[in-house]
C-alpha cells in the first residue's frame, strides 16, 4: 500500500496550527496597510539628520517642490487686524500689507487652512501642537509662525482662529495667490522654511489631514537641523 508522503515544515500536520495562518494574515495585512493611502493623502518632505548643510540650513527638498517660492514670499498679504498679531510678526502698526519675505525670521512656519474645510477643523489641534513645540523649545530662535486662510475673508480667518483656538497669527489669502504660488491645491497644508544666510529653503512640508504623527514628522527636521 502506498504511503502518503510526509508533509514537512510549517504544514506538517502536527505543527500546523490555524492561529499561525491567522497571524500570517495579520502580519501581511499590516505590512500592506503601512503602504496604503492615508486619509487625505499626505506628503511629508523631510530630510534625515546629519544631511549636508547649505546656507546654514540642512538641505531639504529642491525648490521644484514649491512652484514658485520666491514669488510666494514676495506677494503681498493684508496685515493682521489684531495688534498682538502684528507684534508677534514684527510688523509696524501702520503697515496695511506685507510679504512673507519681510518677516525677519531664520525659521518661517506657514500653516495653510480654510475656514470652510472640515479637514482643517480636524487638523487644528495638531497645528496648535506644532506651534507649542516650536515656542516651547529654547533652542529655536528667530522664528515666525503664520497662518494663511486660503480663499477666506478676514472675518472667516478670525472665526476659524476663535472657534479652533489657534495659537498663531493668521491672515486671509483671499485670492489664493500666495498659497497657489506655494503649490497648495488642497487644505490643510504647511511649510517650514529655513534661512540662515541668503534665501529661504524648504525644510519640511505637509498636505492634507495633519495627524499627530504627521505633525511630528513635519517638525522633525527642525529639531534635527544643524545649528
Amino acid at each position: 500500500m502506498k504511503q502518503k508522503p510526509k508533509m514537512r515544515g510549517l504544514f506538517k500536520a502536527k505543527r500546523f496550527h490555524p492561529f499561525a495562518a491567522l497571524a500570517s494574515g495579520i502580519l501581511l495585512a499590516l505590512l500592506h496597510t503601512a503602504e496604503a493611502v492615508e486619509y487625505c493623502a499626505v506628503q511629508v518632505d523631510t530630510i534625515s539628520a546629519g544631511a549636508s548643510s547649505e546656507n546654514g540650513c540642512p538641505t531639504g527638498l529642491s525648490e521644484k517642490s514649491l512652484p514658485s517660492l520666491t514669488q510666494a514670499l514676495s506677494l503681498k498679504l493684508p496685515a493682521p487686524s489684531l495688534s498682538s498679531d502684528r507684534e508677534r510678526l514684527g510688523l509696524d502698526a501702520n503697515e496695511n500689507e506685507f510679504s512673507l519675505a519681510e518677516l525677519d525670521a531664520d525659521l518661517l512656519v506657514i500653516l495653510v487652512f480654510d475656514m470652510y474645510c472640515h479637514v482643517c477643523h480636524q487638523s487644528a489641534k495638531n497645528m496648535r501642537w506644532v506651534v507649542d513645540q516650536i515656542e516651547g523649545n529654547p533652542g529655536i530662535e528667530n522664528y515666525k509662525v503664520i497662518g494663511l486662510g486660503r480663499g477666506d475673508t478676514e472675518f472667516e480667518v478670525q472665526t476659524f482662529r476663535k472657534k479652533l483656538k489657534l495659537n498663531f497669527p493668521a491672515v486671509p489669502d483671499r485670492d489664493k495667490q500666495v498659497t497657489d504660488a506655494l503649490g497648495v491645491r488642497r487644505t490643510p497644508g504647511g511649510y517650514i522654511l529655513c534661512k540662515k544666510t541668503g534665501e529661504y529653503r524648504l525644510l519640511s512640508s505637509f498636505r492634507g489631514y495633519l495627524s499627530k504623527r504627521k505633525a511630528e514628522e513635519f517638525l522633525a527636521p527642525v529639531f534635527a537641523a544643524d545649528p
Binding site: 493611502v37 475656514m115 472665526t159 479652533l164
Partner: protein, 196 residues
C-alpha cells in the same frame, strides 16, 4: 487535514481582504466632482425683500419632515441653497457654517441646508464632510419645487448658491443669490442676522 487547511486559508483571505479594504481609505477631495465653471447665476428670483417667505415642507436626512412655518414666532431661519452634493464649493460651504453655528444661535436663528439631491446622496455627502449639526433637506421630488418657488432653480436643474434670511414673522429680510462658482462671505450673512 485538507479541510483544516482550506478553513485556515479562508480565514487568512478574509482577514487580509478586510484589512486592505479598510486601509484603502478614499479621500473626500477625490470624491468631489469638478464641474466646469458655470454662469454666475441662471434663474429669476420670485421673491423680494419684505415678502412673506413661501412655506414649504421637505424631508431631512435625519428622517424628520421640516416645515418652514413651524419656526414662525420662534426662530429666525437661514435657508442655504447649494447647487449639488459632491461639488467643490458646496462641499466646503456647510462645514464652515457648522463651525460658525454660534453666530446663528446668538441671533436665535436656525440654518436649513437645501439641495435638489435625494436623501441617500445627501446622507452620504454630509457624512463624508464630517459633522453637520443643522437640518439638511432634500428638494428632490417634485424636483427642485422649493427652489423653483423661490426662483433659484437653474435651467440645468440644480439650485443657485443662494441664501435667504427669514425673520420670526416669516418675512424675507436678506437675499443673496451668489455667483455659483464662489462662496458667499460669511460676514455678510452674519451682519444681516445681527441687523434683524
Amino acid at each position: 487535514m485538507k479541510n483544516r487547511l482550506i478553513f485556515c486559508f479562508c480565514i487568512f483571505g478574509i482577514l487580509f481582504a478586510a484589512l486592505n479594504i479598510s486601509a484603502q481609505t478614499v479621500d473626500l477631495p477625490d470624491l468631489i466632482f469638478q464641474p466646469e465653471p458655470m454662469t454666475g447665476t441662471d434663474s429669476e428670483l420670485r421673491v423680494a425683500l419684505g415678502d412673506t417667505a413661501p412655506d414649504f415642507e421637505l424631508p431631512s436626512i435625519s428622517g424628520e419632515t421640516i416645515r418652514l412655518s413651524d419656526y414662525r414666532g420662534a426662530k429666525n431661519v437661514v435657508l442655504s441653497f447649494v447647487p449639488a452634493a459632491w461639488t467643490p464649493v458646496c462641499s466646503s460651504q456647510w462645514p464652515g457654517y457648522n463651525l460658525a453655528l454660534d453666530y446663528f444661535e446668538e441671533e436665535d436663528a436656525v440654518i436649513l441646508g437645501i439641495t435638489v439631491d435625494n436623501l441617500p446622496t445627501l446622507h452620504a455627502w454630509t457624512t463624508a464632510m464630517g459633522v453637520i449639526d443643522f437640518p439638511v433637506l432634500s428638494d428632490f421630488y417634485p424636483h427642485g419645487q422649493v427652489a423653483q418657488c423661490y426662483g433659484v432653480l437653474r435651467n440645468s436643474g440644480v439650485s443657485e448658491r443662494a441664501l435667504f434670511l427669514i425673520d420670526k414673522q416669516g418675512i424675507i429680510r436678506f437675499i443673496d443669490v451668489h455667483n455659483i462658482n464662489e462662496r458667499p462671505p460669511l460676514e455678510e450673512l452674519v451682519n444681516a442676522l445681527r441687523a434683524l
